[in-house]
Amino acid sequence: MNRGWLTVLIAVSVTGCGGRASTGADSAPARSELKVSAAASLTDAFTAYGEQFDPAEAAFSFGASDELAAQIRAGALPDVYAAANTTLPDELAEEGLLGEPTVFATNALVIAVPEGSELESVEDLEQPGLAIVIGSETVPVGVYTRLALERLPDEGETILANVRSEEPDVKGVLGKLTQGAADAGFVYDSDVIATRGQLRAIELPSKLQPDVAYGIAVVEGTEFPEQGQEFIDGLLEGPGAEALAEAGFGPPPSE
């Protein structure tokens, strides 16, 4: 029960105002602060990586990828932007707001159910009366969910009819599941791992599985382009890559 509370609390603080975590090493007061706007699903991996990131003090703002992108478009100036897809970083780069984006991780879309649930497959979600929670159509996890469901014979209509809430980010979906309000939800594999046994993942058949890839780039006009690039490099090889693997993310697709 306590973990459930914590997850909901975290979910809420992230949805509300963007969680802000900074590293504990404060021995060098002159260290510059590297502001990283990142997708909510990266919360655990990036927080762990931030503690080991030496070149700067990493300060994170986790939230829905689309809202973080909207902030940048409206003139907010983080140093690095990481999204749960590649389209948002590509769009921002084309608009001249980001440098060249890099794909740094992959993930899998899964069905998450509370531990002890009897649901076993996508087809099970078609039972009438189930409460299913998904991401809204503007946030990457919601887009991936709709992509997957559209590949079902009935284009997902039966399952979509069971959707009871469209959450602004993936942590919102998790909160509804850990609290026991919903029977199933579509989230990333790494999110289920982060609940440490409270939720169980049901893999999607490969014909439904969308390609979930994460893009990252240094924001144009940042004071710290070098530290930003070092942060990105560490995700491809080194402590960042390890933190991602530990949190359940896959490596970027090889060229």
Partner: protein, 269 residues
């Protein structure tokens, strides 16, 4: 001598800073949105549904708040009893609570897996993911705004009036209905408007407790946030509509209570 002139200037400066700070973001919404866009915004997916749902849920919440809050405030204002200050503090608590925390509390109390969840489920009532849940969330966060103002309004009614009414044999209920309420109207109305405005703007408790689904639980603030990522101008325009609706509510309540001009009986605006 100098202080004498400086002090009024400081007061004016403070008021100016406050007004600019509070009105600038609202003015910016309208500067960014033309009237044509405002009308277009109503065509955005879910916009009309969200506005309709907001009006429906806030209206029901306000009816509940007034029916329960008015007598409760009257009791607190006219009687001195043990635990009275505690009761007032508890009623004011939601004012300082982050709305998301209110949502979590509601989930833990009356959500599907909450303390009273099974009892509520056995009656066949569903709250989470339902419009009824939105009403509950709105009532929770908005009621203190009304009850506080109502309490102050009843306290300001001259107790000699109430005593006279009772002495003349009017009885408690009649005194409440015929003397207390008419004399507290301005304060009650201002509490009503504040609570309504708060309910219209509610976001966190609704999202956490009831969820977000078009036409069922997605009120206007939730629809605005859903639009921010994909359609910023649309979000701005819908925000402008919400500001106009809230403003219209505030002004009409002020007009009805007759306190738009002249000194208010209860200085709480």
């Amino acid at each position: 001598m100098r202080l004498k002139r400086l002090f009024p200037a400081a007061l004016v400066a403070a008021l100016t800073v406050l007004l600019v700070f509070l009105t600038l973001p609202i003015a910016a919404i309208f500067l960014d949105v033309g009237p044509a866009q405002l009308i277009d915004a109503l065509g955005a997916p879910g916009a009309v549904d969200a506005l309709r749902l907001s009006l429906l849920t806030t209206s029901i919440a306000l009816v509940v708040i007034v029916i329960v809050g008015t007598p409760a405030a009257y009791l607190l204002a006219t009687r001195r009893f043990r635990g009275r200050s505690l009761a007032i503090t508890l009623i004011e608590l939601p004012l300082v609570l982050p709305p998301a925390v209110a949502g979590i509390g509601l989930l833990a109390a009356i959500g599907t897996g909450g303390i009273l969840g099974p009892a509520i489920a056995s009656t066949g009532i569903e709250l989470v993911f339902e419009t009824a849940g939105v009403v509950i969330a709105l009532t929770f966060v908005a009621s203190p705004f009304y009850v506080r103002q109502a309490l102050a309004a009843f306290e300001a009614v001259d107790s000699a009036l109430l005593d006279a009414s009772r002495t003349l044999g009017a009885g408690e209920a009649r005194t409440f209905a015929r003397i207390a309420i008419p004399n507290a109207t301005a304060g009650l109305a201002s509490g009503f408007a504040l609570a309504w405005g708060r309910a219209l703007g509610e976001f966190g408790a609704t999202l956490v407790f009831a969820g977000s689904f078009r036409g069922i639980t997605q009120t206007t603030p939730l629809a605005i946030v859903a639009l921010v990522g994909s359609d910023f101008p649309g979000a701005l325009a819908l925000s402008a509509v919400l500001v106009l609706v809230s403003l219209a509510l505030l002004i009409s309540v002020k007009l009805i209570s007759g306190s738009l001009l002249g000194p208010a009986r209860i200085p709480t605006w």
